[in-house]
């Protein structure tokens, strides 16, 4: 009994520190989300030659606060036929995993809550839990659009989890560790993006699908199922989903940076300020995500699944394969670059052939058709008079 007291005391202290750390993390992430919503509006605005928010503060900088205030003050509507318990717990199930991932994502060498030895495994494992929340949200709101959206989410997110895991494994093979710090340290000579471009592309695309950003925003497709799982949520509960979505986006961008773009390593800055490099890189990746959002339409669910299972999964296996070959025979680094780039080009060419091939053929046939029609018009017009009805 007496021996247990100091243990308990240490435990309490520990818990307290963790609580404070979580609090700080939560604050930081909330700030990040606010900045992201502002950035997204501004970027999309400029991309479409609009202004984006302008009225709230200089350059609309406090627009996210205004939005948040509005969301919190908004009435929280619960559909009468919904499953109350599920309806209430779904947002929590979505936000908690999104938040927990960040426990082990380091922003710099020291800026991390708990650097786990199996950090990558932990992240991958927790990322999947959020799906449950989405499915429950769709189901619990007793809405057909919601249900469809929840099921779409389940199918989509689980399919794209596989390529993500595979690519993460290949990175772990390269670095020889699952510890985020060591992965970043292993990239001090060159970022893995250089020797594993295929991995970067797969991870980025699958990551987009994971967080449901355009062109993979299928499970809440606005124009089809009007918000999917979120369709019945309003006010603060909806904002929780919103928060989770942006935290996830940020996490995917951060992981891309950590795994492929050399993490916080960069020139010019002293050891204490490397977090700036990390943030710069992450925001650059996020700008690319917004850029893609401003350019592409959305896929259909079956095409999305086909893309996952026919393209992404084989490719991710290929990634592992070439990484293994590279590691086993200890070839020079550029050989892996070559193999990876070759895979990338092959896939790009295949997609190009499948999609644009028909379009070119159609255009050719169309030109022929036009010539035919002109010939016919000329022949009908020469006898005199215009034809009445075809």
């Amino acid at each position: 009994m007496t021996a247990a007291i100091p243990v308990l005391a240490i435990g309490l202290l520990d818990v307290m520190w963790i609580a404070i750390g979580l609090f700080v993390l939560f604050g930081a992430l909330s700030f990040v989300v606010l900045s992201l919503t502002w950035l997204e509006r501004k970027t999309l605005g400029r991309l479409q030659r609009r202004l984006g928010p302008t009225r709230t503060g200089p350059m609309g900088i406090i627009q996210p606060l205004a939005d948040g205030l509005k969301l919190i003050l908004k009435e929280d509507i619960v559909p009468s036929s919904s499953e109350r318990a599920i309806f209430w717990s779904a947002p929590v199930l979505v936000i908690v995993p999104a938040f927990m991932i960040w426990v082990t994502i380091p922003a710099s060498h020291d800026a991390v809550l708990r650097n786990l030895d199996l950090g990558l495994l932990y992240i991958v494992a927790f990322a999947v839990v959020g799906i449950l929340g989405l499915v429950l949200a769709g189901w619990g709101s007793a809405n057909k659009y919601g249900t469809l959206g929840g099921l779409r989410a389940a199918a989509q997110l689980i399919s794209y989890e596989i390529p993500v895991i595979m690519v993460v494994i290949s990175v772990a093979m390269l670095a020889g560790s699952l510890n985020m710090r060591e992965i970043v340290a292993a990239q001090s000579a060159y970022p893995y993006a250089l020797i594993q471009p295929l991995g970067l592309v797969i991870f980025f695309i699958a990551g987009l699908a994971e967080v449901g950003r355009t062109p993979f925003d299928i499970y809440f497709a606005e124009s089809e199922i009007v918000g999917g799982p979120f369709v019945e949520y309003s006010g603060a509960h909806w904002s929780v989903f919103f928060l989770a979505e942006y935290i996830n986006t940020f996490a995917i961008a951060a992981l891309t940076v950590l795994l492929f773009l050399g993490g916080w390593s960069g020139p010019f800055l002293s050891e204490n300020w490397v977090i700036v490099w990390f943030l710069l890189k992450v925001y650059a990746v996020i700008l690319v995500i917004f850029w893609i959002r401003g350019t592409f339409p959305r896929l259909r669910i079956d095409q999305l699944m086909a893309f996952a299972w026919k393209v992404m999964v084989p490719l991710s296996f290929f990634t592992i394969l070439i990484t293994a070959i590279y590691k086993f025979y200890e070839w020079p680094a550029w050989s892996l670059t070559l193999m990876s780039a070759a895979g990338l080009l092959a896939v790009g060419y295949a997609i190009y052939r499948r999609m644009v091939g028909p379009a070119h053929r159609v255009a050719q046939v169309r030109a022929r058709q036009k010539a035919l029609r002109e010939a016919r018009l000329a022949s009908t017009q020469s006898p005199g008079g215009t034809t009445n009805v075809v």
């Binding site: 999309l44 991309l47 479409q48 030659r49 609009r50 057909k144 659009y145 469809l148 779409r152 355009t214 062109p215 925003d217 299928i218 497709a221 606005e222 124009s223 089809e224 199922i225 009007v226 959002r293 401003g294 350019t295 592409f296 339409p297 959305r298 896929l299 259909r300 669910i301 079956d302 095409q303 997609i351 190009y352 999609m355 644009v356 028909p358 379009a359 159609v362 046939v365 169309r366 058709q369 036009k370 029609r373 002109e374 018009l377 215009t386 034809t387 009445n388 009805v389 075809v390």
Partner: protein, 376 residues
Amino acid sequence: MADASSETIRSGEPIEMLLNMGPQHPSTHGVFRMVLWVDGEKIVDLEPHIGYLHRGSEKLCEGEQYHQVITLFDRMDYISNFNNELVYCQAVEKLMGLTVPERAEYVRVILCELNRIISHLLYVAAIGLDAGAMTPSLICFRARERVQTVFEAVSGARMMHNYFRVGGLKEDLPENFEDMIGELLPLLRDDVEESDKLLTFNEIFLARMKDVGTISADDALDYGLTGPCLRACGIDYDVRKAEPYSVYDRFDFDIPIGLDGDCWDRHYVRMQEMYESLRIIEQALAQMPSGPVTSSLGRRLIRPPRGDVYVRAENPRGEIGVYLVSDGTDKPYRVKVRPPSFCNLSALKHMVKGAWLADAVVILGSLDIVLGEVDR
């Protein structure tokens, strides 16, 4: 693959879900309601419900004098106002045996073709949003604003113009029209090209649109499709060529056609039509004569002789027909409109059956309906 499994499941007990799309749904283009029976994501059956925007326009026409009816035609297909005004004015003119001054005809053609372009631009905007791309819509609206500013300078209103009159126009073009349109056309062409580049051959867009909502040429004729929806099936039927009205026989333009009659072909035909319209406008501007724009009718109250007349014209959405009966008074006895959207919409069920849920949205978008015209 999916068919076999869904067949076996359905043989057990029905698991179809009834899904109500609309009347308040972001992509039903107004207040249109589709009752869908879906099996998972596959559409088994569809029941379209229209009439939410029924304003009784045809009946209202019977209570208005001839020049007041123009305002109602403005509001029937509220995206292509000039084209609608044109067909009504032509109907009354035919009934009265009026000839329209040359210059007025050219102005009408220019405005109608501009209106065709911005109507198709609205279609591109909508199909972009339906397919999940938001930037094309803003590009298109930018272009639309530019054109509408010219419309405002010409007619005084951005959308509900009330500018065409029986026998001519309300007033001549403003003095700075040449400058305005000279400034507008290159910008407009840029915008059209931009949205074209962004959407038409994009791989994702192709995947969404190609081989979706296919309809054969025979079926299309049976359903009475007209306009781009018909031409996408490979039939080069365009009222402007088949039965040239106004001064359309003086211009050199092509009728773009598709081959397969799927959503992408309909999109492609519309994109090409915009370029053709630009060609027509350029030719019309070069040929434009000077002279009066109103007939000797002036502002006199119109009393066409007894009789009836059917006039048709090519709207952006297809062939619009107006059947007008006059009993010799100052109000039409009956006005019947054959709206292109309504007839095109009738093929929706045919196209949507067996498609994916997400396709229904795209198919509806590619039909490019205007509910104001469907319900009248």
